[in-house]
Amino acid sequence: MNPGMEGTPPRILVVIPAYQEERSIGGLVRSLRERTPYDVLVVNDGSTDRTSETAREAGAIVLDLPCNLGIGGAVQTGFQYARDRGYDTVVRIDGDGQHDIDDIPKVLEPILAGRADAVIGSRFLGETEYRGSISRIFGIHFFRFLVNLTTGYRVTDPTSGFFAINRRLVAFYSDHYPSDYPEVDAYILMHRLKARAIEVPVRMYERAEGKSSITTFLAVYYMLKVTLSFLINRIRRFG
């Protein structure tokens, strides 16, 4: 069971939550299959388009949720799959081409070396081409402040959905993972577990296809909801 055991290469699963991503998911899965040695799992979050078929044809393992659970519920299903099938490490990336698959080794390396339990790709470390909307940038600053203040993690990109976690966090997240906007909340959970979380610089692009799950209308709700569940998670019991 030791991931560093001699002669047994670590089993790595790339988890991609996808909702209505039929235009981008096929290309992404194909590139992963051709250019990386990892298993690829697409969690189809109740899409009504051909997301599931396209991903399967491109060579991914596909989980079809019978209804839309939201991003957190979909990602959690991927963690449960990894836990049940005995994967050592999970990399989670977006299905819309926002993340660069050539950066995957960067988020994996500290975990495989045993230096971290979670590695989060940050678009703000190092040189960056990222340009977000004003509300997005404001939200990122707000959550950066909130995470730094309450957990002590020095975070530059608290809403990044590009990360790798080890077996211990996979097991914990399989039982406890926030539903709606999980990335910020996850810092509290990691803090409670005393997990070692570090950031590495990655590139992020404007979405290739589709729309971001966060519209300006939802930005205020997003901030309130995440702040509330973040603070509640600080005082919650996990049994």
């Binding site: 989980l63 079809d64 949720l65 209804c67 539903s179």
Partner: protein, 121 residues
């Protein structure tokens, strides 16, 4: 016995019987009926014993007894609504778990079986 007393006795007794009948026919689960039963019994008692209503209202400093009745009614409705929010949250959690289990189980089926499950959906 004045008319308004008679009316409120009939209404609260009718309500109580309606709730009991719904539970008997299994259209309302026992755990969700308790608050309604409790509420209708309180209204029935206060209709029968109006001097109790006046006494309690004065004891807590309310001059006009019927406004105490409104207060009790509103608090009762709030309690029921919170109860529902909790019940919905629980259902939400259970629903999520079931959807996840279904997705994981379907992925373990051979491909032919998988499409059959989808068709029957």
């Amino acid at each position: 016995m004045n008319r308004v007393t008679l009316f409120s006795i009939c209404a609260s007794a009718g309500f109580l019987l309606y709730i009991l009948e719904m539970v008997r026919r299994r259209k309302l689960r026992e755990e969700y009926s308790i608050l309604w039963l409790f509420g209708s019994v309180v209204i029935l008692v206060l209709s029968l014993k109006q001097d109790w209503l006046v006494g309690i209202a004065h004891a807590v400093g309310i001059v006009y007894p019927p406004s105490f009745l409104f207060l009790v009614g509103i608090l009762f409705i709030l309690l029921i609504l919170i109860h529902f929010s909790i019940a919905i949250s629980k259902l939400h959690q259970m629903n999520k778990k079931m959807a996840q289990e279904i997705a994981l189980m379907k992925s373990a089926l051979p491909p032919g079986e998988r499409s059959r499950v989808k068709d029957e959906r």
